[in-house]
Structure formats: structure tokens, C-alpha cells
Amino acid sequence: MSAVEIRNVSKIFNRGRANEVHAIDDVDLAIESGEFVTLIGPSGCGKSTLLRLVASLLSPSEGAITVAGKSAEQARLDQDYGMAFQRAGLFEWRTVAKNIELPLELMGWNRADRRRRSAEMLELVKLPEFGDHHPAELSGGMQQRIAIARSLAFNPSLLLMDEPFGALDEMTREHMQTELLRIWEETATTVVFVTHSIPEAVILSNRVVVMSPRPGKISEIIPIDLGERSDDTREDPEFFKGVTRVREALRAVEGL
């Protein structure tokens, strides 16, 4: 069974009005359970929209989406996915730990379990001493790490991530990529990941989905086979081959 199945999905915003936008056009994509798939493409090509459709925060104008064999909406109601948005979106009045505990609270976890879990998550994103701080006291990159911890807190079987590392510096970014890969391997989570960074897409993914804009379509799907990642993978010739292929596909999309 596919973890996510997107069948002939189109999304038109404000249909029939002057500000009509054809954001997604006839996208067809099946993502296997445990797969890591990255969406890449020029700004405005509909990456975030596609992710929101999978999350059932938007409903498709045409076509259908299933997540874990259910309708996307049912999957949302069953909390089958965790989501990290383009913006961290922490609640400023909650401490960092309480932000991570928010989904757990809504799921009815008891206080002791929540505390333990948020402490684990803070360790994971390497900010263990910041639990009692408020988000305003953290840098943008640190806030983004907290948002990632929040999305992982309840061990969802599907992770939807919209440029989660966009605000991080290069070293933290590589560190988070490694951590994400480790979590992904350990937990057999399926990940759909949006990024603008070609090396990031290549190092993380099993498949890179290259999208083209106006209207948003899949223009190419590039399989990446780097096997088990290690510290040396970033210097592997296979890695550079992948980077080159994705770059060429993106150039074709942008008409360069």
C-alpha cells in the first residue's frame, strides 16, 4: 500500500474570479511507505500547495488523495501525519517545551509523559537547555528546530516538511539533515520534503520530484541511489551525479 497516493490532482484557487490561480495541474504521484521524497522547483510552482493538499488543509479542485489508504481528510482527523511549515509558527506565550507538547496535549497525553517526550525531543534537536525559554528568546533557526521537534513529537508515520531548514546556517542545516536521516531510518517514517536546495534534495531523498510552474506540474522524477548515508556521502561521485541531474532538470524547467 502506498503511504501517499496523489491521483490526477488539480488545484485552482478562486475559480471563476479575476484572481483565479491554477496552482496545481494534473499531478500524479505515488509515495511508498518508508520513502523519502523531495519536491523541488522554482518559487510559486505549487510545492507548498501540494503539501497542503496532502495534509488536507486544502481540498483538491479535481482528483483524489489518499494517505495510508484513507482519504486525506480522514488521515488528518486520525493524526496520521506531522507537519513542519515554512514558518516556525510557535506560540509566543508558551515555553519551548510547552510548544513541543501542544500536539500531545490535544491528544490527551498525561503531563509526565508529555514532559518526558518534550525533553527527548529537545535533546534530539540539540537544544536541551531551552525548554523553559519563550520562543522570542530564540534565534530563527532555533525556533525552526523547535517546530521540527513539535512535528516529530507524536511519532507520526508520515512527515510533511515545507522548507524546514530554510532559515538555518549551513552547519546546523547539515547537522539537521543528518539527524532527519537518522530519525527517518530509525522510525520507518515516510517523508515528503520541500526544499530549494539541490544538495539537500539529493542527500536526503530516494526520489527528487522536479516541478515546473504556471500551472504547477511534475516535470521530472529523479531517483537517487546513495545507499546508506555517511559523513563521506557528500563527497561521493554518485552524490555529485545526482546534484548535476537535478540541476539540469531545474534548468530545463526554468528555460535556461
Binding site: L57, M83, F85, H133
Partner: protein, 322 residues
């Protein structure tokens, strides 16, 4: 003394850092309060200085009226009847009122408490009413579109006009409560009327203030309207609500005083101001003293709300708006 950086254990270090920042917070608060008290003192001195100079200036030109007609014809006169000397105002506070025992300050204090009771009761009911309205309007855009014009229109009715009406209704028609209806409760209704409006309007703005990504996050957790209200919308609206509470509390004091005056309810500062105005010529200091008490009551109520606001928002690591 343990040094924070020299401690290896991260838990101990975190604890030390927390204590250090708590100490810094307390110092900052103490500094701020001192500064505010000093500024307030200077402000009072400035007002006294303006009062004294105008009085002196006016008095010097008073007998020149026929040659220089601005003073006396366009500007208020500044003789001892219109502007009693400041010592007279303080003197009035220590003297007993005509035909009564005890200092006037004591009497005014009791009357301020009476007005405060009206204000607080009206304010609390107004906050509950305003919040309920704000939540209802945030919940349903149909209600929002339908009711908002009437809520705004309700504030165009002049206070002086409704105050006597409310008191008359209270005496004649309000008998469905398990307790006996008193005149001061009618005055409270006027405070309620002034409170619910800013609370409803600002509260609605606050409840609608969360950013779209935060609302989407709650939606992604399949959180319904009520959990979203308590965990997101309501906390997001707190700075807006406190701004409204400050406005509403001072308006409630004014409403209570004006209500007492225009409806002739006895026992509070409004009635005191009215009766001292009627026998002004025999003791102008007494009227000034009563008005000063009314002003102090308003300032006091404002300060209390501000203190609560600081406590609540600071504990959440955020700042007040306005």
C-alpha cells in the same frame, strides 16, 4: 558563589541561569516602578506649578480687566473662590465636613469605596458580557456582520440620558433577582455599558489575530473550534484584552460618577461632587478635594489593571501593546 560558566552539569547550569535571569527581572521591575513613581511625582508637581502660576497671573491682571479684557472675559477668573489656594484644598481634607465629625478625607475615602464597588461590579459583568459577545462574533461571521453595527450604535446613546432611566427601571422593575435591587447596582449597569464595548471590539480583534500558519497548525491536529479557542485564539487575544480592560476600567469609574450625579444616587463620589458644587461658595477647597479623589480613583484602577497585565504577560514572556 558558584559561577554559571564553571558548572559542568547542564541541569545545574540551567537552574543557575534561570535564577540569574529571575534576579535580573526583579531588579528591572524595581527600577521601572521607582522610575514611574518619580515621574508621577514630577507630574503632580508640574500640575501644581501650572495651577499656582495661572492663579498668580490671573490675580495680577484681575483688577486691570477694564483695560485688558482677556482675563475675566475669556479666561476663567482666578480669585480665591474659583481657584482656592492649594493649602486650602489640603486643609479641606483634614477639616470635618459641615455638620459632620471626622475629617473630610475619611468621608471621601468611604465614598470612593462606594463608587469603587459600583465600578468593580459593573466592570466584571461588562467583561463577562464583552467576552461572551467577542467569542460569539468570532465564532460566526453571520453574527459578526449582523450585530456589530448595533454594538457600535449602542455607544452613541448619551450616558447622561440613560443613567436616570436605568435607576428608575431599577427601582420599579428589577425584582426578578433573588436579592434586593439597590440604586448602586443601577449605577453599575452604566459601568457595564461602558465596559462591554471595548472588551467586545478589542476581544474580537484579538481572537482573530492568530496568524494563518498557527490556525493551520491547529487544523492539522484536527483540533475543533473549542480547543482552538482555548489554546490559540484566547491566549493570542490577551494583549488586546488588557488594552481594552485599561480603557474600560477608567471609563467605568467615570461612568459610575456621572451615573451617580445624573441619577441622583447617594453615597458615592459623584453625589459628593454634586453637593460640594451646590455649596461651592462656602468652601471651594472641598469641591477640589472631591474632584481630586475621583481622579485618584481612576488612576488607581488603571494602575491595578496595568499591574495585573504586567504580571500575566511577563509570565508568558511577552509585552503589552499600547
Amino acid at each position: 558563589m558558584t559561577s554559571v560558566t564553571g558548572t559542568a552539569d547542564p541541569l545545574v547550569r540551567a537552574q543557575l541561569l534561570r535564577e540569574q535571569s529571575a534576579r535580573a527581572d526583579r531588579r528591572a521591575t524595581a527600577g521601572r516602578v521607582t522610575r514611574q513613581v518619580v515621574v508621577f511625582g514630577l507630574f503632580m508637581v508640574a500640575i501644581a506649578a501650572v495651577y499656582i502660576s495661572y492663579k498668580a497671573f490671573g490675580a495680577a491682571f484681575d483688577h486691570e480687566q477694564h483695560t485688558w479684557r482677556i482675563i475675566g472675559s475669556y479666561l476663567p477668573r482666578s480669585d480665591d473662590l474659583n481657584m482656592p489656594p492649594i493649602p486650602d484644598i489640603f486643609g479641606a481634607l483634614t477639616d470635618p465636613l459641615p455638620g459632620e465629625s471626622g475629617s473630610m478625607a475619611g468621608t471621601l475615602f468611604g465614598e470612593a469605596l462606594f463608587t469603587l464597588r459600583e465600578t468593580v461590579a459593573g466592570f466584571v459583568v461588562g467583561v463577562v458580557l464583552g467576552l461572551t459577545l467577542a467569542i460569539a462574533l468570532a465564532r460566526s461571521s453571520f453574527l459578526e456582520r449582523g450585530l456589530t453595527p448595533y454594538i457600535v450604535a449602542s455607544q452613541t446613546i448619551p450616558l447622561i440620558a440613560i443613567a436616570p432611566l436605568v435607576v428608575i427601571w431599577g427601582r420599579k422593575n428589577i425584582d426578578f433577582f433573588p436579592w434586593e435591587w439597590k440604586d448602586w447596582m443601577s449605577v453599575s449597569i452604566i459601568a457595564t455599558y461602558l465596559t462591554f464595548f471595548p472588551v467586545a471590539i478589542n476581544g474580537l480583534r484579538g481572537l482573530k489575530s492568530p496568524r494563518p500558519e498557527n490556525l493551520e497548525l491547529m487544523e492539522s491536529y484536527a483540533a475543533g473550534w473549542t480547543p482552538t479557542l482555548w489554546r490559540l485564539r484566547f491566549p493570542a487575544s490577551l494583549p488586546y484584552l488588557f488594552a481594552a480592560f485599561k480603557l474600560a476600567a477608567t471609563a467605568s469609574v467615570i461612568g459610575a460618577i456621572v451615573g451617580e450625579i445624573s441619577a441622583g444616587v447617594g453615597g458615592g463620589l459623584g453625589r459628593r461632587i454634586l453637593s460640594e458644587a451646590l455649596r461651592y461658595s462656602t468652601g471651594p477647597g472641598r469641591l477640589y478635594a472631591s474632584v481630586a479623589f475621583a481622579a485618584l480613583l481612576g488612576i488607581g484602577v488603571f494602575l491595578v489593571i496595568t499591574a495585573v497585565e504586567q504580571l500575566v504577560l511577563r509570565s508568558q514572556g511577552r509585552k503589552a501593546i499600547t
